[in-house]
């Protein structure tokens, strides 16, 4: 028996003439936490699907727990202890916790009838494995994202997993939830389970993994011990490019463009005051439920504050809705790009101009085709959105480019304040740097920016002031140059 739980060699796979994998190899040792990194489209997901038996490789060999396969079915993979936790967790939002936990087992056992006694037993056992306590009768849609993920993990462990593959597991989690997840991963490791952790977030890779493999364009670019890797090299391997990032300093103190005075919203935040100046990038961080999202959504006209006032350029204003917020020069990039930010099946053009339609049309609302063309062309060029036909649906773009489309929508509106909620969530590292650079240059040109993020390195690197929220109030205002991730975390949780 070898030390490897998984060994794949020289895997090739093409789709309709396009080579997704050009002969990649991956080795995962028993009981190790291995990180597979790479930008979107590098072939990570394809490899996962091959390892879990969903796709069949065109060429190459797979060895699972000492057994070689030329063809492998999903059932073979599960039988050899491979479990995949997908990005969307594959849970049923409408079913109860216990059903979500147990249905897969029952299906595996090819049962035709349902016994709630058995289901309850299976579910309790599954939760017990991780020592988690959840209401078995609750519908999963009423749970937090982190709890849904726990269910997916517990469910995977039921199958005597030897290798758990986690596909971008931290995308939707807050910092604290990520910590909890890492603790669980360590626990699994302690029980001898190997973890393949698929991610492109470098700090996570450094924190959790022992070894790493990096793909680029369907090929291996590097593999080795994580301890022997530094950030710069990691980014270089992933993107093939070099980036440098220094924290942002506004050139001069701009005027106050937006201010909140004693703003309150029931159940979200209370008596909150702050100022935002032109040219600064204000970071807002805090746990989920700290009121940060509600705060910015109130500024953007989604919620109506119960008391307090908002000032724009020193004048008290009433923001009656999103439209009036936009008229006052406030833009908002929502956290969930797919459900709140984009119109996926609609064209890139429409996605860019949607908020500016009133200004891009003339008499009787007739659209100015030329102006729209120019506008779209300008932003595609300026933000280097990778497309050669903007009339294609926006869903054909990668995550980073999709985010740029949302940004373009707002930049087209001559804003004075741009609020971004999780601007680089689910965006690959190259685009992430592009977006950071863009934010900096926008601020330099006088835009006031608010960034909400859980990605603490991001907050530290690209903001000029940080506002930490806790329990609906401002816990502290910090200077990113003189603070650390740890300090931010402590203030958020109120440990310090």
């Amino acid at each position: 028996m070898s030390d490897n739980i998984l060994k794949v060699e020289n895997i090739k796979k093409s789709f309709g003439g396009v080579e997704a994998l050009k002969g990649v190899s991956l080795e995962i040792r028993k009981g190790e936490i291995h990180c597979l990194a790479g930008e979107n489209g590098c072939g990570k997901s394809t490899l996962i699907k091959i390892v879990s038996g969903v796709y069949e490789a065109d060429e190459g060999s797979i060895e699972l727990d000492g057994k070689s396969f030329s063809r492998m079915s999903p059932m073979d993979a599960i039988a050899r202890g491979v479990q995949v936790i997908y990005q969307d967790f594959s849970v049923f939002p409408n079913l109860t916790v216990m059903e979500n936990l147990a249905l897969n087992m029952e299906l595996m056992a090819e049962r035709k009838l349902v016994s709630y006694k058995r289901i309850r037993a299976i579910a309790s056992e599954a939760l017990a494995k991780l020592g988690v306590d959840l209401d078995l009768e609750e519908r999963v849609e009423n749970l937090s994202v982190a709890n849904r993920q726990l269910i997916a993990i517990c469910r995977a462990l039921l199958h005597d997993a030897k290798l758990v593959i986690m596909d971008e597991p931290t995308t939707a989690l807050t910092k604290r939830e990520v910590k909890a997840l890492f603790a669980i991963i360590k626990r699994l490791q302690a029980e001898g389970i190997s973890i393949l952790f698929v991610s492109h977030k470098l700090d996570e890779v450094f924190e959790i993994s022992e070894r790493y493999t990096i793909f680029r364009n369907g090929q291996n670019v590097a593999t080795g011990e994580t301890s022997g890797l530094d950030r710069k090299a990691f980014v270089r391997y992933m993107t093939g490019r070099e980036f440098s990032e220094e924290s942002y300093r506004p050139a001069k103190q701009g005027e106050v463009v937006l201010a909140a005075k004693n703003l309150s919203l029931t159940g979200a935040f209370k008596d909150l005051s702050f100022e935002l100046r032109a040219g600064e990038i204000l970071g807002i961080t805090g746990l989920l439920g700290s009121g940060r999202t509600e705060l910015v959504q109130t500024l953007f006209g989604i919620y109506k504050p119960d008391s307090g006032e908002v000032q724009v350029r020193g004048k008290r204003v009433r923001i009656r809705g999103v439209k009036s917020a936009i008229r006052m020069g406030i833009g908002y990039v929502p956290a969930d790009r797919l459900t709140e930010g984009l119109f996926l099946p609609q064209s890139i053009v429409r996605n860019i101009v949607v908020s500016k339609l009133d200004r891009l049309s003339g008499l009787f609302g007739v659209l100015k085709g030329k102006a729209i063309g120019a506008e779209v062309e300008k932003w595609v060029r300026e933000l280097s959105i990778a497309t050669n036909d903007p009339s294609l649906p926006v869903q054909t773009l990668s995550g980073g480019n999709q985010q740029k489309v949302v940004l373009a929508r707002w930049l087209a509106n001559d804003l004075s304040v741009l609020i971004l909620n999780g601007p680089t969530v689910g965006v690959d590292i190259g685009s992430k740097y592009d977006i950071h650079a863009l934010l900096r240059s926008l601020a330099e040109r006088g835009l006031a920016i608010i960034v909400i993020s859980d990605d603490l390195p991001e907050v530290l690197a690209c903001t000029s002031r940080i506002l930490v929220m806790r329990g609906g109030g401002i816990a502290e205002v910090l200077d990113p140059a003189s603070t650390t991730e740890q300090r931010l975390g402590e203030i958020s949780t109120g440990v310090a």
Binding site: S90, L107, Y303, K304
Partner: protein
Amino acid sequence: MINMRRMAKRSEPYVFGAIVLLCLLIQVQSKQFFTGNNLVDLARSMIVPALFSIGAMMVIVSGGIDVSFPAIASLAMYATDRILLNVNYSGNVMLAYAMAAGFGLAMGAVNALLIGVLRLPTLVVTLGTSSLFTGIMQGALAASESPVPPSILAHGKEKLFTATNTQLGLTSDMPSQILILLGALLLVFLLLRYTMLGRGIYAIGGDEAAARRAGFNVVGVKVFIYCFVGAMAGVTGMVRASMMMNAHPTNLLGMEMTVIAAVVLGGTRVTGGLGTLTGTMLGVALMIILSNSLILIGIPTYWTRVFTGAVIIIGTGVTAWQAGGSGRRLASSGTGL
């Protein structure tokens, strides 16, 4: 153990409350609601819509929507009736039900093929097949009202018991077809709750991709749903014919929207995944009590549609408002769906 917090989020209690209010109103207006024969009359009127609503609920839970069931029921019933009349059939009524179920199943299979296997959108497909089946019935079969074979006639006259109204001495018969409804309820209850197939229906309504990954045979489940619902529609058509002792080809058509409205009113989520038989039956009961009590309440005939429209609007409005309302004040609202 009843979890109050969980109950408050469901719509069954509200529908139930609405039914209680309506019943009290009828009782006050006519003193006739809580009489044995009135309750039997209402139960009788519920049979056909309730049978339809069970199928409609299953389809909506699975994430689809079906408007073809009245057409399937009519054609299945009519074809069966004509064949049996042609051969002068006089045997057991079960054969008639079996034939109607068979025809319904075959038509359901057409839906199943288009929706389950070819993955076409459900509303469009069933609009198309509905038109197709009605056209076949009225064009190719030149359908018109016709009598029913003697055994079905006899079956139509069967009664389980007779309820008497002590005040007025009126009697109403409980038709034996109610057993079919009860049977269908029991069958579908067991199916949905205690079989993997039933849980599969909920699972694909919740997240189809996840269901596929979990190992549910998604195509198989969908094919089953549309075939089963088709067969049930066929039986329902026969139930109606036997209760009316007359095969009327067009009398069921046009019920689809009311049935779907009743199902949605009963708390079934339009986008799939959620829905209970209890809620569905409550929704149907509300609609049926309403439409069968307008005279009892004393609404003049000319005003019935105004009243029905107002009740639908207010009823759904309260439920929708309840479901959508959060404590926080929104600066501007509007969801679009």
